[in-house]
């Protein structure tokens, strides 16, 4: 059996870090805050690895099936019998896998920040926020109750808000953190309503019970809930769709992705944390957590999940090809890769071989965490060196940043899906799952993976090759980052190179039974060939300084411009909010509030003042008058009750 104390300590250690550094950091631990935070997270990581080992190799497997354990069911708030918000810990393959991913990536970010954030004025605040972020994400992963999950979900939202807006004296950072918060908040509303619909139908908030009740189509619960319909869809379909909207908001799926590129305003290690391990994978995790409901009860919604994922994947890949800000390219690549995970879930079915999409999605989440964290941390090292985000300011850096160069190359190869790097294996499984279930999605995915290779190597060549003599000011450039920054790069580089060899299907599958992943060599030819073509194209265009890319862009004309402007999605949002919502709804509402609501309140106030002025004369101070009032009162009452009342 799992040890509840050990597992509970994993999220509690970062929380302790948050409280300790948040409360006393600025006074007591100005210098040592980073070491304290890192030490606590190291302990959490060791515990997470230990838990994973114990679960996968010691007690987790019973009769060849990985079991689900629910520990520590503390009732926090009981609404009525059976419906309560419990604080519990769920232990199953995906939560254990996520424990490892979150703690490991977070540890890497912690270590990296020791170098990257050195000398920052709010150094201890930064580490306390990192602790809060990690705590929230770990709590979300371990939540056994859907409402508990929602609480931590919001915790993730808040901590990302704090970290994206960390440089709060920069207006763009403030705007970005507000944007991230508002967009995801908006989506969270969907999640909340979805929770309410689903839990109302199922009569429980406990995830295990909820899944159990909603996935037996013959049961009364499902029949009753299906009977309610709204706009042609049943209550359960709406519930699941709304929950997915929440997931799409956090995971930056089209059309709720607009916050993600702007979120680059935070410190670069934070971007690594957001993109690799915490915030954006929360949505994928949510869909995976409720996957039985999606796949058995509401397959229609799952289809939507698949299409939204595929659309986001290709859209983001196209946009990424045109961006020149290194972090924005990476941001769109994240969106694209999360799209892969989403549609992998979307094309999956429940159980057995057909459930390979689920496993593939989780596998990709795992490998993506490695190489995406590596890419961001590498980009951080580059930015740290060049003091610019724009690839036009870079070039020829391979001589100056040798370690960064090698690890960045590994990450690019991994994300491009070149064997034997990690991304190859997971992407292959995703493509395989899509091939079996949905050909249209398969073709989109195939094209996207070609584009991925192209834009990643466009980035790679632009940074490390292109110009022979760098244009940045050499005077400001120092050495390649110190040991603290290089260690995570190397560790993640090893992960990105080797993580693919883990027989992932053995451990994680939807029904707990091991799934043997078959890599079919013939099947792999097309994606790998496309990937290599993408790399070659990037090589031809960007390895040396030339005007080929400009000519290509010119020949693409309008399409290039649209992609460069991110297909004007931000502008559409602005148009809808500023022109339509503000003018047609907000202004009239403001007028109504100011004139009618406030007016009524003011009227009440004025009339009370006036009445109080009016009766002033009664209190004259003359005893004779008092006696008269007294007597009048007696007589009126007596008359009232003797003559009129009777």
């Amino acid at each position: 059996m799992p040890n509840a104390t050990t597992i509970a300590l994993i999220p509690l250690l970062p929380l302790a870090g948050f409280l300790l550094l948040g409360l006393f950091g600025q006074k007591l631990f100005k210098k040592s805050a980073g070491l304290i935070g890192t030490a606590l997270l190291l302990a959490a990581t060791i515990l997470a690895l230990y838990t994973a080992y114990e679960y996968f190799f010691v007690y987790g497997k019973v009769d060849g099936v990985y079991q689900k354990f629910v520990l520590l069911q503390l009732t926090w708030l009981e609404f009525y019998k059976g419906v309560s918000i419990d604080m519990g810990i769920i232990i199953d393959p995906i939560s254990v896998m996520m424990l490892v991913v979150v703690t490991f990536i977070s540890l890497m970010v912690h270590i990296y920040s020791l170098g990257y954030m050195k000398g920052e004025k709010r150094f201890s605040t930064y580490y306390s926020f990192l602790g809060l972020f990690t705590f929230s994400m770990l709590g979300l992963v371990l939540a056994s109750n859907i409402f508990q999950m929602y609480i931590f979900w919001e915790g993730v939202g808040v901590s990302s808000f704090l970290l994206i807006g960390f440089y709060y004296d920069k207006p763009s950072a403030v705007a970005a953190c507000k944007k991230a918060f508002i967009v995801t908040r908006f989506a969270d509303l969907g999640f909340l309503i979805g929770i309410l619909v689903l839990s109302y139908s199922a009569g429980t908030l406990d995830i295990g019970t909820l899944i159990q009740r909603l996935t037996s189509p013959e049961s009364n619960v499902v029949k009753t809930a299906t009977a309610y319909s709204f706009l042609g869809a049943s209550a359960l379909t709406w519930g699941a769709a709304l929950v997915f909207i929440g997931g799409a908001g956090k995971s930056a799926m089209f059309p709720l992705h607009i916050w993600l590129p702007d979120a680059m305003e935070g410190p670069t290690p934070v971007s690594a944390l957001i993109h690799a391990a915490t915030m954006v994978v929360a949505g994928v995790y949510l869909v995976a957590r409720l996957f039985p409901v999606f796949s058995i009860t509401t397959p229609g919604v799952l289809e939507i999940v698949g299409w939204v994922g595929a659309l986001s994947a290709i859209l983001a890949a196209v946009i990424a090809c045109t961006q020149t800000d290194i972090k924005r390219v990476l941001a769109y690549s994240t969106m694209s890769q999360i799209g892969f995970m989403m549609f992998a879930l979307g094309v999956s079915k429940y159980g057995g071989e057909a459930g390979s999409g689920y496993t593939a999605s989780m596998f990709h989440l795992f490998t993506h965490a490695m190489f995406k964290a590596l890419l961001f941390l590498g980009a951080g090292a580059v930015i740290h060196y060049v003091h610019s985000n724009d690839i036009k300011d870079m070039g020829g850096l391979r001589k100056y940043l040798p370690i960064t160069h090698i690890t960045f190359l590994i990450a690019c190869l991994a994300i491009a899906g070149i064997p034997p790097f990690a991304g190859f294996f997971s992407k292959e499984e995703i493509l395989h799952a899509a091939y079996q279930n949905n050909m249209a999605v398969y073709w989109i995915a195939l094209i996207t993976s070609g584009l991925t290779a192209f834009y990643m190597f466009r980035l790679y060549f632009s940074i490390f090759w292109n110009k022979e003599t760098p244009t940045f000011a050499k005077a400001t450039a120092g050495k390649e980052g110190g040991f603290a920054m290089m260690l995570p790069l190397v560790l993640l580089g090893v992960g990105a190179a080797a993580a693919g060899f883990i027989p992932f299907g053995e451990f994680v599958s939807i029904d707990g039974k091991p799934l043997v992943s078959k890599i079919n060599l013939v099947f792999s030819i097309a994606p790998v060939a496309l990937g290599l073509t993408g790399i070659m194209a990037a090589l031809w265009l960007y390895k040396k300084q030339n005007n080929r890319s400009a000519r290509l862009a010119a020949s693409l004309g309008g399409f290039y411009k649209a992609a460069y402007h991110k297909f004007y999605i931000d502008e559409i949002y602005l148009f809808i909010t500023k022109k339509i919502i503000f003018n047609l709804i907000a202004r009239p509402a403001a007028w109504f509030d100011r004139n009618v609501v406030d007016g009524l309140v003011n009227l009440t106030g004025t009339s009370i003042q006036a009445a109080s002025e009016g009766i002033k004369k009664v209190q004259s101070g003359k005893v004779q008058q008092y006696a008269i009032y007294f007597l009048t009162g007696v007589i009126v009452l007596a008359a009232l009750f003797i003559y009129i009342w009777k």
């Binding site: 109080s612 009766i615 007294f630 009452l637 009750f641 003797i642 009777k646």
Partner: protein, 466 residues
């Protein structure tokens, strides 16, 4: 003989203290510095002894009646007097006639005890007078001040007027029913016009004491003129005792006429809450302000009383306990400030937080409790009063009461704003609060916080009401 001692033990104890003070006064006399602690200890002892040997019984052919609930009500009043002796330590020490002050206050208390225990209209009348006349003398205690004498004069005149009407009512009632015993009256009441007239006369006497509109006019002048200690005694202890006997009279004696008195209560409760609030809004003097706010509070007590059931009785006793803490805390702070600086206007309180944070916090707590803001006890007190009142089903009445609670928020918070937010060039200088007074304020503050949160207090009162 034994019963004679135990049933009336509260009365005996108070009498004993009065005589002790009398002997001290006649004898050599003691300095205020030594006498005051002695009195405080005696009052504390009196309060503690109030909880011992309580039992049910009656004396003098049903003229005197007591039970655990009545004993508890007396303890509440005892406690109030004890708190007053703590809160106004500074003022009392300066007083020329310390023994007289306590002799008078304890005589009034004795009157209240007899009043609560009375089982007969005659005893009721006598004890009501005993509870009133010493207070009129007390109102005049600031001998040098004209307003003080004026207040005392107004009080004695008004209460004489009220007593006349009360006596008139008692005579009519005796004429109509042939009895003045509480136990026998209910059988004789049939709601004839003469009886209704007599009842209205009787009712006005209670209304006068409780400052129910339109019988409240004396209140503001007397409260303003009297020393703060006396004002607080009048507004808290005096009100509480009358409310207790008022419930007994309505629930036990005039139960057959409950339709009449329910209607009267509804009308007068609304008038009292509204007028009390409207006057309180405009007051500039803190004592006058508290006087009118206490009138509005009485309106809420009437809402609870109107329920005519056990819940109403429990709610009223509970509320009065809370009211003692809250109002005494407010008066206590006002008294400390008035004694130290002579300032009594609300505008003087601007910026008080800067110079006297402790006093500001206690006053804020008290005002929050009076306004009924959770988690202070006042919130629970009002909640129970209003739920008790709602049991009758006259929801528009309850809605008006709730509305008045909202209006009262405005003027209570106005003072809080003055203390915490308004700027002042010359705020009241930092006052060195006497430790004994501080202790009293802390007891009040703790009471305000805990009476609502500790459920056993409410449960205890509920267990007393059978």
């Amino acid at each position: 003989m034994n019963e004679f001692l135990t049933l009336m033990k509260s009365e005996w104890l108070v009498t004993a203290i009065i005589f002790l003070l009398l002997f001290i006064k006649i004898g050599k006399g003691l300095k205020n510095e030594t006498l005051l602690p002695v009195i405080q200890v005696l009052l504390l002892l009196n309060f503690i002894l109030g909880f011992l040997f309580t039992k049910e019984g009656h004396l003098f052919g049903n003229m005197f009646f007591t039970n655990p609930l009545i004993a508890f009500q007396k303890s509440i009043l005892n406690f109030g007097v004890f708190l007053i002796s703590l809160l106004f330590t500074d003022w009392l020490k300066k007083s020329q006639q310390l023994p007289e002050f306590f002799m008078l206050i304890l005589s009034a208390l004795l009157g209240m005890f007899l009043m609560i225990s009375s089982g007969n209209l005659l005893i009721f009348f006598l004890s009501l007078e005993l509870a009133t006349i010493p207070v009129a003398a007390l109102a005049n205690f600031d001998l040098g001040k004209k307003r003080s004498s004026e207040g005392a004069m107004k009080m004695i005149l008004s209460s004489a007027f009220s007593s006349g009407i009360l006596l008139f009512g008692i005579s009519l009632l005796y004429g109509a029913t042939g009895t003045i015993s509480f136990a026998e009256l209910p059988q004789q009441l049939d709601g004839s016009p003469l009886q209704v007239l007599a009842f209205v006369f009787l009712f006005t006497a209670f209304a006068f004491k409780l400052s129910i509109v339109p019988f409240h006019l004396w209140t503001a002048d007397v409260y303003e003129g009297s020393p703060v200690a006396v004002t607080s005694f009048l507004s808290v202890i005096s009100k509480g005792s009358v409310a207790f006997i008022f419930i007994t009279a309505l629930y036990k004696v005039f139960q057959p006429m409950q339709e009449v008195w329910y209607a009267i209560l509804v009308i007068l409760a609304i008038a009292t809450m509204v007028i009390g609030n409207l006057f309180a809004i405009r007051q500039q003097n803190i004592k006058r302000f508290l006087a009118f706010s206490s009138i509005a509070q009485v309106g809420f007590i009437l809402v609870g009383i109107s329920s005519n059931d056990r819940a109403g009785l429990v709610a009223v006793v509970y509320f009065i306990l809370i009211y003692i803490f809250s109002n005494l805390a407010a008066f206590g702070v006002a008294g400390v400030i008035a004694t130290a600086s002579g300032k009594e206007n609300i505008s003087d309180y601007k910026g008080l937080y800067k110079t006297n944070p402790f006093l500001s916090w206690i006053l804020t707590l008290a005002l929050f409790s009076l306004a009924g803001i959770p988690p202070t006890a006042g919130f629970f007190g009002k909640l129970f009063l209003i739920t008790a009142g709602a049991s009758k089903g006259t929801y528009w009445f309850i809605a008006i009461a709730a509305l008045n609670m909202v209006i009262s928020l405005y003027y209570y918070l106005r003072i809080v704003r003055a203390m915490f937010m308004d700027k002042n060039e010359h705020p009241i200088p930092t006052i060195k609060t006497n430790n004994i007074a501080k202790l009293g304020l802390i007891i009040c503050g703790t009471g305000i916080l805990l009476t609502g949160l500790l459920s056993w207090i409410y449960d205890y009162i509920q267990s007393l009401v059978t």
